[in-house]
């Protein structure tokens, strides 16, 4: 690929986005190649930055947001981390494609403009590089991010920090001697760093220890959310853990905190799994096989059902009760069995009933072709 390319124009309801343009579909972080990827799905490092001289996105007028985007776009040629990147202008994309990018964790719900009451704001864009990405005109002008497979904090941080240094040398950030990097919401000021992991904790949920663990996290200065960030519910035992505060500690201290606490949570989860197998082996085994059987043979699946059964099968694979199924496949199902992906696959908008039928069909096909299962 050579240089940033514009997003596709607004077209018919049929999706027009060529997903092959995304390096690895933008989901290389799903490949389960990283450390501890049986429990930690991914690590994300995000830096919130604003460009000085402009009102923040929420208060800016359309023209200001467009000029801000143009300024960032002009700077891209000088930013090595984003050479060969893909620039998608979200306002010119149909809703299903914007939702699809959101389902892949590449853009936030806010940037994707998925609230039907509000149109996508002008200047909303995402720039996707090989290993880093940049959201433009989200709540903050710029959200720099790096996503990695597994529990991989230092590498993800290094990548986002490099992008930050390169971009900050071209575009003037809003910085304050006392308050650090200035952000639209004071909860992000200071370092602007949100370091997080997406972690799967079925053992702690089944042993009912999860409440204690989550309360402990919050005491340590970490917070948790569901699969899709702020405001989303915890479904399928997937939790997003991240630092609660961004000011008053250095980037390194915030990283260390996350690493220390997550390492502890991983150990607790491993211990809970050992206890489950030891004390309730047959109950767990039955539960997991039922989850697997449902995924393999059901004709209709809601999103929550699919997530919960996938959680069960993921645990079964982790405990080596189910063999022949890769964690990568299960990670992919988490993303590709969502509604925009299914409607993209079918090439048309689907009703709720059709979505649930399509989801069951897709999951069945993937599991059958992997041929995992019966020992």
């Amino acid at each position: 690929m050579s240089g940033p390319r514009p997003g596709p124009g607004s077209g018919p309801a049929r999706p027009a986005l060529d997903l092959s343009l995304l390096p690895d579909g933008g989901v290389r972080w799903l490949d389960a190649s990283g450390p501890h990827s049986d429990i930690v799905i991914s690590t994300r490092m995000r830096l919130a930055r604003n460009v000085s001289g402009y009102a923040f996105t929420g208060r800016a007028r359309d023209g200001e947001r467009l000029r801000m985007l143009a300024q960032v776009r002009d700077a891209l040629t000088e930013v090595p981390s984003l050479q060969g990147s893909l620039l998608l202008t979200l306002e010119s994309m149909p809703a299903v494609e914007r939702q699809l990018l959101h389902e892949r964790h590449l853009v936030s719900k806010e940037l994707a403009g998925l609230d039907p009451q509000q149109p996508v704001r002008s200047g909303a864009a995402v720039i996707l590089g090989e290993s880093v990405g940049l959201l433009v005109n989200e709540e903050d002008h710029l959200r720099l991010q790096a996503l990695r497979s597994g529990f991989c904090v230092p590498e993800a941080f290094e990548a986002v920090q490099r992008l930050d240094a390169e971009l900050g040398g071209q575009v003037p950030y809003a910085f304050h001697r006392e308050f650090g990097f200035l952000t639209a919401c004071p909860t992000n000021a200071g370092t602007g760093l949100r370091a997080s992991v997406l972690i799967h904790l079925p053992g702690l949920v089944l042993t009912k220890e999860i409440g204690k663990v989550l309360a402990g996290l919050q005491q340590m200065g970490l917070t948790y959310r569901g699969l899709y960030g702020e405001g989303s519910e915890v479904v399928g035992n997937f939790f997003q853990l991240s630092n609660q505060t961004t000011l008053g500690r250095s980037e390194e201290e915030l990283q260390d905190l996350l690493v220390r606490v997550v390492r502890h949570v991983i150990e607790r989860e491993e211990e809970a799994r050992r206890v489950l197998v030891r004390d309730a082996g047959y109950i767990i085994e039955d539960k997991l096989w039922r989850a697997y059987g449902t995924l393999r043979y059901a004709r209709s699946l809601t999103f929550d059902e699919a997530m919960n059964f996938l959680s069960g099968v993921r645990l079964a694979v982790g405990l080596k009760l189910v063999t022949g199924l890769s964690v990568y496949t299960l990670n992919k199902l988490l993303i590709f069995a969502q509604s925009a992906h299914l409607s993209y696959l079918e090439g048309r908008a689907l009703t709720d009933t059709e979505t649930n039928l399509a989801r069951a069909k897709y999951v069945r096909q993937v599991l059958t072709s992997e041929g995992g299962g019966v020992e």
Partner: protein
């Protein structure tokens, strides 16, 4: 408005669907929306600052800082309280006192100890000092009936033109 599905709870999620060229609107409560698998993309995020913001803003109101507005973007402390978002980087100076207190409560500290940053030299001149940006700011000031600020911006545009 009641939920289309259960007719019991208030609808909070509104989904527009295009099915065979017909557009339908579906209004759902949080529970039914979750059951249909749309909660992760459409649920309403909670105000991240919550009670802390209210406490600090009440304090600001009592000290008279509530009336302050930012000279750059026109945002007021009242706007901040309503949205939980500041208007621009200059708002941090305009509302410095109450923000320092808010930051302390949110983060346990109001002093950045992380990475320092120097903007690139070529960009030291603020981009906003172009006629385009000044016009945007002028319109915003007029919309907000901040006529003193509007007059100042109009003068600056005249000088540049």
């Amino acid at each position: 408005m009641l939920c289309d599905n259960c007719q019991e709870r208030d609808a909070v999620v509104h989904v527009t669907r295009v099915v065979e060229n017909a557009v339908t609107q579906l209004h759902l409560c949080e529970k039914c929306a979750a059951a249909k698998g749309v909660e992760t993309t459409l649920s309403v995020p909670q105000h991240p600052l919550g009670e802390i913001l209210q406490a600090v803003q009440q304090q600001a109101a009592s000290t008279g800082e509530d009336a302050l507005s930012c000279r750059f973007c026109g945002a007021t402390a009242r706007d901040f309280r309503a949205t939980g978002r500041l208007g621009c980087p200059h708002c941090y100076d305009a509302m410095e006192h109450s923000l320092r207190e808010l930051l302390r409560r949110l983060h346990g500290s109001s002093r950045h100890v992380g990475k320092r940053y120097d903007p690139p030299a070529a960009h030291l001149l603020e981009k906003a000092d172009t006629v385009h940006d000044l016009r945007d700011r002028l319109r915003r000031a007029v919309d907000a009936e901040q006529f003193e600020l509007a007059a100042e911006l109009r003068d600056r545009i005249r000088v540049l033109e």
